[in-house]
């Protein structure tokens, strides 16, 4: 993923100067699912308004229209978005995929009821259209109706229970509402769906630490440790996390002496890695990093 981002940044710099391959840049953004809406909207519109550049896209032109429409909506460029959606409607007059864009255009204006109408009519024909169900979730969130968004997401997950993006989104909303136990449950589902994903182990550990208590700290430490392993020992949050858990466990009452021995190896190893990394990459901060590790 890191190399992908570097490549995108490189292309973006060229495109900004007017010498880059815009089509390739847009394709890479699509592939990596990045949200760089002002660049995509600006360069995308320029490309689409140029008939020869447009012709070179071949069949991809429709995907690009869709991508640029969404980017334009993200930047509140409603006229530009309308242009793109118009072109798509001409080519695909009965498409529900384009219908979604029409709904999104209403959403961007804050015309929630109009958007609802568009989505309701699509759902009448296709009650389990995942894309439209996701728009309903997004609309609830955009209007600040977080509990409504939670409801919609729970309904969606009953239909699409392996959709890890939705579990993650649900976890994030629970966290913003400080509903930590519910967020923890989501992360348990995420780990089931993708057991080798270090970020899910990390997220789960962070939630358990936040809830607190000796048992949770012990479990959090295990998940921080697995996150370290799954990330090849590179994840700084997980390394710090193990140390924070060890410190918390040591300070908590009711712990076993046996636990203390297990504690020492993992967290000392992690502390050594942290100190080494700081010496190499951030020497000015090395003493600050060390102060929390001595605790």
């Amino acid at each position: 993923m890191g190399e992908g981002i570097t490549e995108v940044d490189r292309l973006e710099a060229l495109v900004d100067e007017g010498v880059g391959d815009v089509a390739r840049y847009l394709a890479l953004i699509r592939k990596l699912k990045l949200r760089r809406s002002s660049k995509v909207a600006k360069h995308g519109m320029e490309l689409l308004r140029n008939s020869s550049a447009r012709a070179k896209l071949g069949a991809d032109v429709w995907t690009v229209y869709e991508q640029v429409a969404i980017a334009a909506l993200d930047c509140q460029c409603l006229t530009a978005a309308k242009e793109c959606i118009g072109a798509l409607l001409k080519k695909f007059p009965d498409s529900t995929r384009v219908g979604r864009l029409e709904g999104m255009w209403f959403e961007a204006r804050g015309s929630w009821q109009q958007a609802e109408k568009v989505y309701a009519s699509i759902l009448e024909e296709r009650p389990t259209d995942a894309r439209i169900l996701k728009r309903k979730i997004a609309m609830a969130k955009a209007q600040g109706n977080l509990m409504g968004a939670v409801d919609e997401m729970n309904k969606y997950l009953e239909l699409f229970m392996a959709d890890h993006e939705c579990w993650k989104e649900l976890a994030d909303v629970y966290l913003s509402l400080q509903m930590y136990k519910q967020a923890a449950f989501c992360y348990e589902e995420l780990i089931l769906v993708q057991p080798a994903n270090a970020l899910f182990h990390l997220g789960y550990a962070e939630i358990l630490y936040t809830i607190g208590g000796l048992e949770n700290l012990k479990t959090a430490k295990k998940y921080y440790a697995s996150a370290i392993e799954l990330s090849g020992g590179k994840n700084m949050r997980a390394l710090y996390g193990v140390c924070l858990c060890a410190a918390g466990i040591n300070q908590a009452k009711g712990r076993n002496i046996k636990d203390e021995k297990e504690n020492s190896t993992v967290h000392t190893l992690a502390a050594d890695v942290i100190k080494r990394e700081y010496r190499l990459k951030a020497p000015k901060k090395a003493s600050l990093a060390a102060c929390i590790l001595e605790a």
Partner: protein, 208 residues
């Protein structure tokens, strides 16, 4: 108690929010108390001023988790107490995810409560998006809402805008210029540091 915010702190926190337009962001405010009897009870020291001298951008996106917050608070307190005389943590700032959300939610309140245990005149600043949008006309008014603790230990918004002033009257102009330049891309927060520790959450070159 009066509150004053330096150009450095103000511009930095605004740029942090602008870098992550579709996410909530938060950070820590660092400063000192001057005048009055010291950092004691707010009621007694109405002549005192809390000067917010600098800030440290913390996180973007997910703000409700404890471990990295605890880590950041420890490192920030350690840095400022040993490198910058008389400076300590005096509050926090928060910018909501949605444009028209003016609520101070549970998370900034909790962080504020935690800081208030060590500094009773702690404040929470909530970014005001409408004011930020119309910066050119903002003049001397900072685009943030000040919250302080009242006698029942709840967070309430200061009644008038005179309770928080910009230390330098040029702050909004400078911010406006930086936005035109896209300077917000250069802000580093604690999240960025954790992703790549060579990035410095002190943001040393930000205003060069």
């Amino acid at each position: 108690m009066k509150y004053q915010i330096s150009q450095t702190a103000y511009v930095k926190l605004a740029l942090h929010a602008l870098k992550h337009r579709s996410a909530a962001v938060n950070g820590i405010l660092v400063g000192r108390v001057s005048g009055g009897g010291g950092g004691g009870g707010a009621e007694e020291d109405s002549a005192a001023t809390v000067s917010i001298v600098d800030c440290v951008p913390l996180f973007h996106g997910q703000l409700g988790l404890l471990p990295m917050l605890e880590l950041a608070l420890t490192q920030i307190e350690e840095y400022f107490s040993s490198h910058q005389e008389g400076l300590s943590i005096v509050g926090c700032y928060h910018a909501n995810e949605r444009f028209d959300d003016y609520d101070l939610s549970g998370i900034p309140r909790k962080i504020g409560d935690h800081i208030a245990r060590y500094f009773s005149s702690a404040c929470v600043l909530l970014l005001d998006n409408r004011l930020l949008e119309s910066l050119a006309k903002a003049g001397k008014k900072p685009a943030v809402q000040l919250f302080t603790r009242d006698s029942s230990r709840g967070w309430r918004s200061a009644p008038g805008s005179s309770d928080l002033v910009l230390a330098e009257s040029t702050a909004n102009e400078i911010l406006y210029d930086y936005i035109l330049e896209g300077r917000e891309q250069s802000v580093t927060d604690f999240d960025d540091h954790l992703d790549d520790i060579s990035k410095d959450w002190l943001n040393p070159g930000l205003f060069d």
